[in-house]
Subunit: 146 residues, 4 copies
Amino acid sequence: MWASEPVTTAFVTTRRVEFSDTDAAGIMHFAAFFRMMEQAEHDLLRSVGLSVVQHDAEGTLSWPRVNAKCDFESAARFEELLTIEVRIVRLGEKSVTYAHRFIRDGQTLASGEITAVCCRLQAHGEPKSLPIPAAIAVKLRPYVTS
Amino acid sequence: MWASEPVTTAFVTTRRVEFSDTDAAGIMHFAAFFRMMEQAEHDLLRSVGLSVVQHDAEGTLSWPRVNAKCDFESAARFEELLTIEVRIVRLGEKSVTYAHRFIRDGQTLASGEITAVCCRLQAHGEPKSLPIPAAIAVKLRPYVTS
Amino acid sequence: MWASEPVTTAFVTTRRVEFSDTDAAGIMHFAAFFRMMEQAEHDLLRSVGLSVVQHDAEGTLSWPRVNAKCDFESAARFEELLTIEVRIVRLGEKSVTYAHRFIRDGQTLASGEITAVCCRLQAHGEPKSLPIPAAIAVKLRPYVTS
Amino acid sequence: MWASEPVTTAFVTTRRVEFSDTDAAGIMHFAAFFRMMEQAEHDLLRSVGLSVVQHDAEGTLSWPRVNAKCDFESAARFEELLTIEVRIVRLGEKSVTYAHRFIRDGQTLASGEITAVCCRLQAHGEPKSLPIPAAIAVKLRPYVTS
């Protein structure tokens, strides 16, 4: 029945390929896709009133990346406007996996994933992971792919 | 006999974490790992007399990336000197997969892979893949993990 | 009389400080101001139907920078939305000098200038300067500070 | 008399133009010159046992930039090895002005300056300038152009 159909809500944002994103091959440098994947994630967080860096009484909460990957299918060029879809493919106890798709004129250029872990930053030493606070998880849930 | 043990030759290079590689979390930004992975590949190519962009009578030969991924285990910080090992884990007909490991003081910080496809660049339109010329393949073979 | 009043038309655009623009001092890295100055110039060009890289029958016309400078008065931080004003303070025979001002909440954070020279790009060797085509100059004139 | 001849000691370092430093015009992006100017300054500081970010009992001492400028004379291309000379053209009470020159095969490609102010960083609010500690000034003096 349609009532049980999977519902996938993607967060959608855009970025234009800037000249400083291009390289001598005349196309957007592959590392710029990763920067934009992160920017799209931050746009999503901002849209629900969150930030990837949040200060509270105990210090700073942030989301170091533990994995990032991307498949590049087609090149992006200077000044093109890219649509970036972001979905959450896994909302774990301590981590979130975002899936990204870059689209230009209906064509998929690249698709990737980033997994970020909820951590308390420490001035020195490694960030320390902790369970995602409920107040944050509830705001991410609408973007979890069912 | 142990004489037939697999021999893995890694190409080894280094990069220092520059201030412009860091971010407001106080650590090296994750996209900088991808830039350095590519730089290490280019160092390897240069060490055997190749370049990732080669001009010949017919135009330009280059290696667009079709996949890149990285697992981040531990943070890198400003001014740290990172050792980067590069191995070739697959030397295909048209593509090469490089595996990278970032090491600081004997500790692995991150490990990743990049797959690049041998292509002829075209001023307009998509790069066109072609078989890796034998003169190039023979120079890469020593770094193929057996 | 009002007829002789100076008329200064500024082109106005915005950029948000992305996480990859920040550094370990917790603020936007100074080189990111230069990237944004250029991006604002490109936004201006695009708004009048031009591009900083234009292909014609004879090849490629572009605008290499010969000078860039910036005074930094106050720090910009992650996620802040910066307003960037661009004016043309000199429209020469072969070059354009753009003046930029970064504003956040009515406060000037930085002001800079970039001078770019109209050039024909050559595959090898240095770009070759040429007089700014009249069709381009006429589109830039409205932003010249009088 | 030769005893009064001006002595100019330049600190010299090198950087190779990486692929991610290039842009679609086929040359090193102008903002990469600024990143390298800063990297050369940091190399100089490191060579005398200093760092641009120093932690002490009272917090963090760093050197926000208040001005940066560069004249670009000739393009730098992928894989070229650039020599960067750094001199201190002004060692003030609270600030240092570094002058940089980029050289390739004996040819000057670009020359610039960066002025940095000695500051105590504050978690929130603006960095606060302070007189350069004597222990730091004494280490910079050899690079002051007389």
